[in-house]
């Protein structure tokens, strides 16, 4: 049984403009100790899907349908007290903006110790010692002295490390990281990613990593879910996704990664913008931006199926490569016409998808 099972989750926001269906029937599982990336452009519903797991949605957002089972328990049925017990203890969250996540009038160490005291019967001294240990574990130098510093005395990277320390304070089984490296410079970003990778390896903590950065995904994740306009359009292992993307949107995302030594004059982009979720396009939601779209794409919304066999996602295994495109249900007349070109075929590169051997996806002529 998977640690986390999300089944047909629908989240809606009610605005004057209409109903915003930010998450539309997504289903996925995360196994214990596994790192799963949730990627997509801004506005795809990634953060809303993550907040919904812990029922942290703010009004006017609400879960309309679906099940969220963690370790066999249905989180939608849990009382507020039960949820408070689960939050931090079993499932912890690292928010995007560490500066906003930390309380400016309490010391960083005290905030970590408070999280420990809230969930475990420990003395103040024990909580303090554990908080200092955690600060050391996440790479804060001179943790004992830093325990008494206020958040404004920490740099952005240190604040993010402190938030990760707080999330790890009760040794959660699942860590939800919502764009943990956004807004940090690349060297700090690399440090945070290394830290998360070490933690996942050492403590067997499962991680749901929300990001729009495919480089981060390549670095950290075992499996990847690609979300577009509230729906999951592709699910694959990280290797399959980078070397054999099945959905045109994923191919477009991969093609738009800038690379050193690239001889193209302009960076490839996916034309158009994410559709409004108040009034999404009919049929496949990606069809207005898809270079391979046909008439059928505007009339039918493809379901998520195993790309190789067309088996529905429900019947496919957890590791099956799934994609939601009419190509895989046999309804696309001219098919998808793009190729993935591997730039460096050296043996070292082959072993490391995030190293020198970055794949490149190129679109061919359509139709």
């Amino acid at each position: 049984m998977a640690l986390l099972e999300v089944d047909d989750l629908v989240v809606q926001f009610y605005t004057d403009d209409g109903v915003v269906r930010a998450v539309d029937g997504i289903s996925y599982e995360i196994r214990a100790g596994e790192t799963v990336g949730l990627v997509g452009e801004s506005g795809a519903g990634k953060s809303v899907a993550s907040l919904a797991l812990l029922r942290l949605l703010r009004d006017p957002g609400e879960i309309v349908r679906g099940e969220i089972r963690f370790d066999g328990r249905d989180l939608r049925e849990c009382s507020a007290a039960d949820l408070r017990e689960i939050r931090g203890n079993d499932i912890a969250m690292v928010f995007q903006d560490a500066d906003a996540a930390l309380n400016p009038v309490y010391t960083v160490g005290e905030q970590i110790a408070e999280a420990i005291r809230a969930h475990e019967a420990v003395t103040d001294r024990e909580a303090r010692e554990r908080a200092i240990d955690l600060l050391e574990r996440v790479g804060i130098a001179d943790a004992t002295a830093r325990y008494s510093d206020y958040p404004h005395e920490f740099s952005g990277g240190m604040q993010q490390r402190a938030v990760i320390a707080m999330a790890l304070s009760c040794d959660p089984a699942l860590l939800i990281c919502d764009e943990p490296t956004t807004g940090l410079d690349v060297t700090v970003q690399a440090g945070i990613l290394e830290l998360l990778a070490d933690l996942a390896r050492e403590s067997e903590t499962a991680i749901q990593l929300v990001t729009h950065d495919l480089g981060v995904v390549a670095e950290l994740c075992d499996r990847v879910l690609v979300q577009y306009a509230g729906e999951i359009v592709e699910r694959a292992s990280v290797g399959d996704l980078f070397y054999d993307p099945k959905h045109p949107y994923t191919a477009g995302l991969l093609a738009s990664i800038p690379r050193l030594g690239d001889d193209r004059n302009r960076l490839a982009t996916i034309p158009g913008t994410m559709p409004s979720l108040v009034d999404p396009p009919t049929g496949c939601r990606f069809h207005p931006r898809c270079p391979f779209a046909e008439d059928a794409c505007a009339r039918r919304n493809p379901s998520l199926v195993e790309a190789a066999s067309g088996t529905s996602a429900v019947d496919a295994g957890l590791d099956a490569h799934l994609a939601a495109c009419l190509e895989y249900t046999g309804d696309l007349e001219d098919g998808l016409d793009y190729e993935v070109r591997i730039r460096d075929e050296s043996e070292e590169g082959a072993a490391d998808p995030c190293g020198e051997r970055n794949p490149e996806s190129r679109r061919g002529e359509t139709r």
């Binding site: 629908v10 809606q12 109903v19 269906r21 009038v105 009919t282 049929g283 505007a298 009339r299």
Partner: protein, 191 residues
């Protein structure tokens, strides 16, 4: 636990300091240092909530008459398959805030020949009341694009035939038509 910065007993230090102490603005709770104190929450803000004031004193019939509903399209005739751009406008005619009760959190809806949002599927919105609020003289404009297709199943849409179609908008109330909270326009789709 509450930490009071104010000295116990009658404050000293002149009328200015007394006003500050009397306001109890310096009190904070240790649990949530930035939350307003309970006393402040109980007393409410010092300014008048004109929206609530207006809602309390304005007759219901006047509220309905105050709201102008209109729908328009970017053309009257369309080639088959061309998207129809729809503009929906709600305007509060009064110089006071108004708030209308609706029967759904989806405060208003648009239809094509009576089909909500050009769909034959039942609405996926919980059935509970909500409110549609406007500040004084406020105009709210929303846009939709109808690609000349009707949703017939969860994952399937069908193109419509050439002909005349009525695009309407109404506030989500059963009595919307009786109270003038509706508008409609007609378009023609040609081959």
């Amino acid at each position: 636990m509450q930490r009071a910065v104010r000295p116990k007993g009658r404050p000293t230090g002149g009328p200015t300091m007394r006003r500050i102490y009397d306001s109890r603005a310096l009190e904070r709770t240790n649990d949530d240092p930035f939350a307003p104190d309970e006393d402040e929450a109980r007393d409410g803000p010092r300014t008048i909530d004109w929206a609530a004031f207006s809602h309390a004193f304005m007759p219901t019939a006047l509220r309905h008459r105050a709201l102008a509903v209109s729908v328009s399209t970017d053309a009257r005739r369309y080639e088959s398959g061309d998207p129809v751009d729809i503009t929906i406008t709600f305007r509060n005619r009064l110089p006071f805030p108004i708030r209308l009760r609706t029967e759904s959190p989806n405060r208003w809806l648009w239809t094509v020949d009576g089909l909500r949002a050009a769909s034959k599927l039942p609405p996926a919105v919980p059935d509970r009341p909500a409110a549609f609020a406007f500040t004084r003289g406020e105009r709210k404009t929303f846009r939709r694009q109808w690609p000349q297709r009707i949703q017939v199943a969860d994952d399937e849409w069908e193109p419509v035939d050439p002909g005349t179609y009525t695009i309407a908008v109404r506030i989500a109330r059963a009595d919307a038509a009786d109270r003038g909270l509706v508008d409609s326009t007609t378009i023609e789709i040609t081959d």
